[in-house]
């Protein structure tokens, strides 16, 4: 199916002795690198995308870059764990008709299947709601 997002585990240094110690990257930090450095968005745009203020975005991005630099310079594995995150799109599974359907991140609670209307639904692949040293998101 491809979606929900695949769990990224991490990246290891190829050469040299690897430290036991690892660098932990939050999902939010990963996301700022993805939006800023990979997609080429500017910080204002990135902040809008992630639905956070620009100063918060900058703090997270700064933290992310420091971690990536540390991983590179100190030859440490970079590992990603989910922090507190709300995906734009979330998948649900209906136990009644067996379908999967998506809902964009909306204020209203998802109660019924988009196909058959049954209330017998479960959230599929919902992200961990844990904060791992993430600088002040929600």
């Amino acid at each position: 199916m491809g979606v929900p997002p695949v769990d990224k585990i991490g990246w290891n240094p190829v050469s040299g002795s690897q430290h036991e110690e690892i660098v932990l990257l939050n999902y939010e930090e990963y996301e700022t690198i993805r939006l800023n450095d990979y997609e080429g968005l500017c910080q204002e745009e990135g902040a809008v995308r992630m639905n956070i203020s620009r100063p918060t975005y900058t703090r997270i991005y700064s933290s992310a870059r420091k971690k990536v630099a540390k991983s590179l310079v100190e030859n440490k594995s970079l590992l990603m764990r989910s922090g507190k995150v709300y995906f734009d799109r979330r998948w649900y599974h209906c136990k009644n008709c067996g379908c999967w359907f998506d809902r964009l991140n909306t204020e209203e609670e998802v109660k019924n299947c988009e196909l058959c209307g049954s209330a017998d639904i479960e959230s599929f692949g919902s992200p961990d709601v844990k904060i791992e040293g993430s600088p002040g998101i929600q």
Partner: protein
């Protein structure tokens, strides 16, 4: 609301098509008028870009939701941008008529 359903044929007893971009037909069901129209998929034989082109096609027919067996990556991201809801139904034996019945509930 208009709902697009990928179909292997142009009858209500045709089966759901498991592909999106290169499905044979699109059935478009209008929940208010309770009517169904079938459209031949112009992108069926496309070498590439069938996913995004099919998204444009159903969007042009006013679809706000789409039912299919699966969606490719390019189609998914475009559907997300256009805010068209996706429903994935892995059951290969469902007919268009049965799906419409489910939608009517």
């Amino acid at each position: 609301m208009k709902i697009a359903i990928t179909a292997t044929g142009n009858q209500e007893d045709s089966l759901l098509d498991s592909r999106f971009g290169r499905c044979t037909y699109f059935a478009v069901y209008d929940t208010e008028k309770k009517t169904t129209e079938f459209f031949k998929n112009p992108n069926k034989e496309s070498a590439s870009g069938a996913g995004p082109a099919s998204v444009q096609f159903i969007a042009s027919k006013g679809a706000e939701k789409v039912v299919c067996g699966d969606f490719g990556g390019k189609a998914k991201s475009l559907l997300e941008q256009l805010k068209i809801r996706m429903v994935v139904l892995k059951d290969p034996k469902k007919t268009i008529g049965e799906i419409i019945q489910l939608l009517n509930k």
